[in-house]
Symmetry: C2
Subunit: 200 residues, 2 copies
């Protein structure tokens, strides 16, 4: 397999990039000075070698603590729980949120074999039990699995003296937080509502 | 700048990849085992370091001669002249062509400062003068610049005892060969026509 086919095959494994696009990107890189490809290669290597989950919130970082957890201006008494680290980027883009985060590492999905023990729910309960947290905002996706995950977290936090809220559904049901625009996310944060225990 | 932002910035420099898509691709890679990123990095490095133009046809290759020039089953008496090496991939995809290629390295474009001397036209004339070539198929893009380039090559080959043909315009005027489907390219090759010297 040639270097050209090889790179195109690797690029085609990325989501949303088909065989034709991969080949086009490869030839695009070939037309650039070779340090363009090398810079991209280096960025990938740094990513693979240095990035790891933040021990406090499971956000991805190169530091001991992630940039948000280590920022003294962030309000550590409000934790926004999200499914994936990429959701943090989406919420930060809205510019509306000044608290910290907790990455659950996915959503409840029995069909995909994801159960409560695969998520970082227990760690979130520990963070809340350690005190100083007054609110947990559930920002899981507005899908069936996301709602189930929010309920799971709410019940796990049941005994703790903490407000548990859910971001308002500004996103259409079945939508994906990662693809939402900043304004929608900002509105959803402002209009968040308490999770009442109506499911019992 | 963090490793995540850094990779996203590099990815966003690729054509057709915006800031959001770049961030999504980066987080996708972060969810994979890290050897996925490293394999992509390695493919980029190999591309940057080993790929160079074929000395015979200017196709891109890692070998002394490109795979097509060194294939004894290809008919070296028919040369298909294209603008870019990526066009070869598009034509090969059609499965219709058994000759060899010549990459001109662009198209005539006075506005972009591309003149005849920036193209490999003289080298093509030498290849034809060396004998054994009976036909040159002009497969430059069906644009004003592509047509001008085809005419330039035809005139440069004027004295040589060689048929000069032009791929049929199956592609819409202003279209781009690289984006065409294989069937259209195959039809355009079959229906190629001689270039008559009607421009004189």
């Amino acid at each position: 397999m040639s270097a050209i086919d090889d790179l195109a095959a690797e690029l085609a494994k990325l989501p949303g990039i088909g065989k034709k696009t991969a080949m086009r990107l490869t030839y695009h890189l070939l037309k650039q000075p070779s340090d363009r490809s090398l810079r991209l290669a280096q960025a990938l290597e740094v990513l693979a070698e240095r990035v790891h989950p933040c021990p406090r919130c499971h956000n991805l970082t190169e530091q001991d603590l992630c940039a948000i957890c280590s920022d003294p201006r962030r309000d550590a008494s409000v934790i926004c729980a999200v499914e994936e680290a990429s959701d943090i980027w989406a919420i930060e883009r809205s510019g509306e949120y000044r608290g910290v985060y907790h990455v659950l590492g996915g959503r409840l999905s029995p069909l995909d074999g994801v159960s409560a023990s695969d998520l970082t729910v227990n760690h979130l309960v520990e963070r809340v039990a350690a005190g100083e947290v007054r609110e947990v905002i559930m920002a899981t996706n507005p899908s069936v699995e996301g709602e189930a995950t929010a309920l799971l977290v709410q019940q796990a936090l049941g005994a703790a003296p903490v407000r548990v809220s859910r971001i308002a559904r500004g996103l259409p049901m079945g939508g994906d937080l990662e693809y939402a625009d900043g304004v929608t996310i900002a509105q959803a944060l402002v209009a968040r509502r308490d999770m009442v225990q109506d499911s019992r």
